[in-house]
Amino acid sequence: MTELLLIFISTLLINNFVLSYFLGICPFLGVSGKIESAIGMGLAVTFVMTLATSISWLIYHLILVKFNLLFLQYVIFILVIASLVQMVEMFIRKFSSGLYQALGIYLPLITTNCAILGAALFMVSRNYSFLESVVFGFSGGLGFSLVLLVMAGIRQELEDADVPRVFKGVPLTLITAGLLALIFMGFSGLFSSI
């Protein structure tokens, strides 16, 4: 149990996907303009990431390891993720038009979100058990949403700020992200035994 909690907190805050592994930067820069879209994207990523890590774990341990086909892992993982995203899109489109309105447009973006594939690869390289992988995927997605949300809030405020013209837009966002990364480093003091 402690192990799981440790993975949860460390993935959520200390080794945050965006700020310390640089995963999912593209949507992080693209979708963090508005709070509503940040929430939508965050939810979609968390959902798909949890699902993708669990299925990838099953495939990796039940098929790839058994048949000694580890070199196929990238291809299989990406196949899982791409198909999964598409299926999820079809499902919520059919059964919940409200949810589709909210998340629909972000789903295609997720396939190319490196955070999802990254989560699957990290989970493998760290030898996580099934339960640990699920927690890892979930907290990774949650951490992504958290940073996206914080960033969107900051960016909305920054819109009215008087900054030199060359810094407007992306440069300012990147530098803000840098400062955020520094702040999140402070969380590493949370535990003395990680």
Partner: protein
């Protein structure tokens, strides 16, 4: 090993493609083919001027409700007629299409500024703090309106807003953005060139002259031309767009204006 690899990946590919193919059939959302048609016709700017969250939402609403609401503003009459044809209703066409004009025509040299403004460089901020412009009605020229225009029809020239009327889609976003309410939707008449009064200052002449050399001094000259569509209210000249016909002496009044604050533009869409 080659064989196992091929079998594994082949089976995986087969399973996923099968699921996808079946799901895409089973879960197919019966989308109204007319909605797809409407989406195809629409320009896809997602400007939101129609009042819906985007072109797609607009198209779905059009098909569902069987009416075209206010129509697609960027698309204009022609496109709205096409949409109406798709859903089988007669378009409630706007009698004339519209464009925005900016009611401040003063350039940098004409606007007076007594103080050295140091605040935030946005109109909204300057409106609250004051000090960026002596005239309390005129354009602050930090370009809040430029930022919201979805088609980049607005530009700042010498601290004066210039509207590219061929680009303007009359979405009204600049009207909301301008803290001084300088934008006005005016009919894009097919019989005349476009005329408008480029001042919004309702102070008396003396006070206007103190802050701007371009402002309307309510001298009433424009209103005194015979058959004039101009009238004076609150010390400011207005143009009554409902009175326009091909004989209206718009140009005569413009040339007589002593402060040259009546502006005009050629009608690029043609008569």
């Amino acid at each position: 090993m080659i064989t196992t690899a091929i079998i594994t990946l082949g089976v995986a590919g087969f399973i996923f493609s099968l699921t996808l193919a079946l799901l895409s059939k089973r879960l197919k959302v019966e989308e109204d083919p007319r909605a797809l048609k409407v989406i195809e016709i629409l320009p896809g700017l997602n400007c939101g001027a129609c009042g819906f969250s985007g072109c797609r939402a607009f198209a779905e609403a059009v098909v569902r409700e069987g009416q075209i609401f206010n129509g697609c503003l960027p698309g204009g009459d022609e496109l709205n007629q096409q949409i109406s044809a798709v859903i089988g209703v007669t378009a409630c066409l706007q009698s004339k299409s519209q464009v925005v004009v900016c009611r401040c025509g003063a350039e940098a040299s004409e606007k007076k500024v007594a103080t050295d403004y140091q605040g935030l460089l946005t109109c909204r901020a300057a409106q609250i703090t004051g000090g960026a412009l002596d005239c309390l009605y005129g354009c602050l020229a930090f370009g809040d309106c430029l930022k919201v225009c979805p088609v980049s029809a607005l530009s700042l020239e010498n601290k004066k807003i210039r509207v590219d009327f061929s680009k303007c889609i009359a979405c009204g976003k600049c009207i909301q953005a301008c803290p001084r309410n300088l934008f006005e939707l005016v009919p894009w008449s097919k019989v005349n060139d476009l005329y408008w009064v480029a001042c919004n200052n309702t102070e008396k002449a003396l006070k206007v002259k103190k802050v701007c050399s371009r402002g309307c001094i309510s001298c009433t000259i424009c209103a005194k031309v015979s058959e004039s569509p101009y009238y004076i209210k609150n010390n400011l000249s207005y143009l009554d767009y409902t009175k326009l016909s091909s004989e209206t002496p718009l140009e005569a009044a413009k040339t007589k204006c002593p402060t040259k604050c009546i502006f005009s533009a050629k009608n690029p869409k043609g008569a």
